[in-house]
């Protein structure tokens, strides 16, 4: 089911949580709403679910205006951040709940069969008799998903689905959710503040700030072509170097980058740690190393430029570097944004 948000607005008391958001989610697409806390991402999700009503604008499910359809009749599957499993019901009863309360009456045997199918889908065979308190966090997450899928929702909505889990479980569940999505092809919208999660999982990432969409696109588009300093910084570590634009070129101390379409004046150069190189001879930005961090996948160097900027870059693990060394940083590529 295709979902369309048309100039949606939401205000809590005096706080403008969502300001004029328009967004289209294609049928079968897996979309991430990514943003820092307070950016309105969860509010948007809850409005799509019908758990909040918008103050302005419309939400369409396919061609139908769903703006005023109550949550009960909207036909969405919602997975809550803390799962919201019913603690007094077993895993199987939790999954069956939606089918039992449905206006469409089902045979008990049909419900049981569906519960068994769903337990298999979420790989929890044999745990149907447990209570939520008796299973692990990752298992609870999967029960919550099975419960949401049981009612054959038109859309699947997940609020910070992996927020409360530890890193390894999170990575596994991410792959697994992706598999389930390709298997079922259900239109899915999820909220996260974790850029890695959004980029790993989603077909398309929608980046929000202060209740507005600042950029949207495939992971490749938003990573390779961030449209603003905010997106650049939010998506990952970034070095910021003061620069000045003159005649289509940005000049920093010891570095110059071609830029197109920027007016002359003050600007900032943004570069990922992987886009910086370290050499002992110039040319480049003169800097001295302040600290070396060893990580399983490489060696991160923290340095201070002569002009005072803090720089971070990666070097080969074999490279001999130590705090106090002097040298030059060169830029392989960078983004320039006016300030």
């Amino acid at each position: 089911m295709k979902i369309r948000l048309d100039h949606v607005v939401k205000t809590f008391e005096t706080f403008r949580a969502v300001r004029d958001v328009s967004l289209e989610i294609e049928s079968g697409e897996l979309v991430a709403l990514l943003g820092p806390s307070g950016s309105g991402k969860t509010t948007i999700l809850r409005m799509v679910a019908g758990l909040e009503y918008s103050d302005g604008g419309h939400i369409y499910f396919g061609d139908q205006d769903a703006t005023d359809i109550p949550v009960r009749d909207r036909g969405v599957g919602f997975v809550f951040q803390h799962y919201a499993l019913f603690p007094h019901m077993t895993v199987a009863q939790n999954i069956a709940f939606g089918m039992k309360v449905s206006k469409v009456k089902r045979e008990k045997a049909a419900i049981d069969a569906r519960v068994t199918d769903l337990l298999r889908l979420v790989r929890l065979e044999g745990l149907g008799d447990r209570f939520p308190a008796q299973i692990s966090g990752g298992q609870r997450q999967r029960v919550a998903l099975a419960r949401a899928l049981a009612v054959d929702p038109k859309v699947l909505l997940l609020d910070e689905p992996f927020g409360a889990l530890d890193a390894n479980v999170r990575r596994d569940l991410r792959r697994w959710l992706r598999e389930i999505h390709s298997e079922l092809g259900i239109t899915t919208l999820f909220v996260t503040h974790d850029q890695e999660e959004a980029l790993d999982l989603a077909d398309r990432v929608v980046i929000l700030k202060d209740g507005q969409i600042v950029q949207q696109g495939t992971p490749e588009e938003v990573c390779r072509d961030p449209q603003s300093a905010f997106v650049m910084k939010f998506l990952g570590d970034a070095n910021v170097i003061a620069a000045e634009v003159r005649d289509g070129k940005a000049y920093a101390s010891g570095a110059a980058i071609e830029v197109a379409g920027l007016a002359d004046g003050k600007a900032e150069l943004y570069a990922r740690p992987a886009d910086l190189d370290w050499s002992l001879q110039g040319p480049g930005i003169p800097a001295s190393i302040t600290r070396v961090l060893d990580r399983p996948d490489g060696r991160r160097v923290l340095a201070t430029a002569e002009t005072g900027e803090h720089l971070e870059f990666d070097v080969e693990p074999e490279r001999v570097v130590k705090a106090g060394d002097g040298g030059f940083v060169t830029l392989r590529r960078a983004k320039v944004f006016a300030v």
Binding site: K103, Q134, R147
Partner: protein
């Protein structure tokens, strides 16, 4: 480390043997004087003139009527206040509305106001000189010095019990469960009975038991509005007082023993419920090995 601990407990404030014994001793003496002695006296005095007298007092029509009236008051006041308590707790914890804090304070008022003040207030509202008095009189509806007045006064005094038990628990539980149920297609009633109620049932029962105990024992407010008509508007506590003023000590104590028995049964029920985990998460089996 453990061994070290058993050898040398870190000194705590007041942990000298003499001080400890003194404290325990004071508590025991006070409990004996304040709580145990009166309870024992009720039993002793009630049976002072033998079983026959005790039985005669209990089956005396006035006593029986007082018991019936007390039970009637409880049968009406407890369900009404339970419904009120659930509704109030639901409204306060699941919705946002203007005046929510004020309502919270209002619910507490019967706790802080002396019951006798409540009784007098009812006189001014429903009495002949009161606001609704003349109207009620014109329609020939008797509220004061009749059963409705007794029930109303009892309800006022016990209004907060159920709500007070439910509100903190429902606040802690948040709205997620209800939202989840609704998003799965459950109606409001279905959500309440299948999701909300099972998660608050122990706290609810606890509130109901306390409410019931208070209704049956209520004296102050009821004594103002009932008119103390023997065999007509006398509840059990009022009946006890009447008997006592009539110098029928044995009768008073025999009636008192009934109330005391109800109280003791209430305490036992309360303790049993606490064991079941009133308002707390039930002790669950250990979580399964994490293999997600």
């Amino acid at each position: 480390m453990r061994r070290l601990n058993t050898h040398r407990k870190p000194p705590r404030v007041g942990d000298q043997p003499l001080f400890r014994r003194l404290l325990i001793g004071i508590v025991l003496v006070l409990v004996a004087l304040i709580i145990v002695a009166p309870l024992v006296i009720i039993g002793v005095e009630a049976s002072a003139k033998g079983w026959a007298v005790y039985r005669d007092t209990i089956i005396h029509p006035d006593t029986r009527h007082a018991i019936m009236l007390t039970v009637l008051a409880a049968l009406v006041a407890v369900p009404v206040n339970t419904a009120f308590g659930i509704a109030a707790a639901w409204a306060i914890t699941k919705f946002d509305f203007w005046g929510k804090r004020f309502l919270l304070v209002l619910i507490e008022i019967p706790f802080s106001v002396s019951p006798i003040v409540a009784g007098v207030a009812y006189l001014f509202v429903y009495g002949l000189q009161g606001i609704f008095g003349p109207t009620l009189d014109a329609w020939d509806i008797k509220i004061l010095f009749a059963i409705p007045g007794i029930i109303l006064a009892s309800m006022f005094v016990t209004a907060p019990f159920v709500a007070r038990e439910l509100i903190p628990l429902m606040q802690a539980q948040g709205r997620d469960l209800e939202e989840a149920a609704t998003s799965l297609g459950a109606s409001g009633w279905r959500t309440f009975f299948s999701v909300t109620l099972p998660n608050v049932k122990w706290a609810l029962l606890y509130g109901v038991i306390l409410c019931n105990a208070r209704v049956m024992g209520e004296f102050g407010a009821v004594s103002v509005v009932s008119g103390n008509i023997r065999g007509q508007t006398n509840t059990l506590p009022l009946h006890i007082e009447l008997l006592y003023h009539d110098y029928q000590a044995t009768g008073a104590f025999a009636s008192a023993s009934i109330l005391a028995t109800i109280a003791v049964l209430t305490i036992i029920a309360k303790v049993a419920l606490e064991r079941q985990g009133a308002g707390r998460v039930r002790p669950q089996a250990k979580p399964a090995e994490s293999n997600s």
